[in-house]
């Protein structure tokens, strides 16, 4: 039997895989891909809660779908973030001929 817990554990596992990638990769595009995985994991958790509350008698129609609405806005912001971040990566590559985040250290303390 698949309960809400299963989906939340799945979301937590995928989120932590994405976190590991975002913290450990050197290629800026790979870091962006890891961040997209993390956003997807959060969406899975939100939609799982929305689906769980659909059968919850006390909630009105609006409350039942709030998680899905949040997921839609997260997808919107993630698309905007991907476009801007990839433009930045290409601009950095054009100026410095590298996208290794270890070598982009102008603001390093």
């Amino acid at each position: 039997m698949v309960t809400l817990n299963s989906f939340l554990v799945l979301g937590a596992l995928v989120f932590c895989i994405g976190l590991f990638g975002a913290l450990s990769k050197r290629n800026a595009v790979a870091i962006l891909m890891s961040i997209e995985i993390m956003l997807n994991a959060v969406n899975i958790s939100l939609v799982a809660y929305a689906s769980s509350f659909q059968s919850y008698a006390g909630a009105g129609h609006g409350e039942r779908l709030t998680g899905q609405i949040f997921a839609i806005f997260i997808i919107t912001v993630a698309a905007a973030e991907a476009a801007v971040a990839l433009a930045m990566i290409i601009a950095i590559y054009r100026r410095r001929s590298t996208i290794d985040v270890g070598q982009i250290n102008l603001m390093r303390w």
Binding site: V2, N5, S6, L23, K25, V29, S97
Partner: protein, 178 residues
């Protein structure tokens, strides 16, 4: 304990999702990682279908598996030879990152197991039956997003469109040739 379709589908999709996420993070070849990223997005769409969220599943396939994967592949193509092939794709802080990720995963899974909120929940198979009988939630989502009469998310929706416009203009300004 009987085995139903929803349980089998959940475990197939979950194993696909976790396995391809690990492939994205661990593969040395960035193009292969980007292709596995498309598999991650498709498996997430499958999770949304299981959760009775058809609209989110379609949006996921259109935006993520369609647009974002293509954007990432274009960025990889335009930044070829930026990373030397011989060196490791991981930075020096890999072990610290692994410790942080495993500790966070353990904490989150412990919290989910101990939470009052997560315990009293309906199961996914009941939701699938509900989806087949009730015709889904797309109309309700549309009313929530657009309806000007009762409480809805019209204002956040309009702000999101402004965010998208700003992102488009910003991407063009940042990415153009000087």
């Amino acid at each position: 304990m009987s085995i139903d379709v929803a349980t089998v589908a959940f475990y197939v999709i979950a194993i696909t999702l976790v396995g391809s996420s690990l492939a994205v993070v661990l593969l040395r070849n960035i193009v292969h990682a980007a292709l596995f990223l498309a598999v991650v997005f498709g498996a997430a769409a499958g999770v949304y279908v299981l959760l009775n969220a058809e609209f989110i599943a379609i949006v996921q396939i259109l935006i993520y598996a369609g647009a974002v994967t293509i954007l990432v592949l274009f960025a990889i193509m335009l930044t070829q030879n930026a990373m030397s092939q011989s060196s490791s794709p991981f930075s020096g802080q890999t072990w610290l990152a692994a410790i942080i990720a495993v500790a966070l995963a353990a904490g989150l899974i412990f919290t989910v197991g101990a939470s009052q909120m997560a315990l009293g929940s309906a199961n996914a198979s009941a939701n699938m039956v509900h989806a087949i009988n009730g015709g889904g939630s797309v109309a309700r989502i549309g009313q929530l997003l657009y309806s000007p009469f009762n409480y809805s998310y019209v204002l956040p929706f309009e702000i999101a469109s402004v965010v998208l416009l700003a992102a488009i203009i910003g991407a063009i300004v940042i990415g153009r040739e000087d």
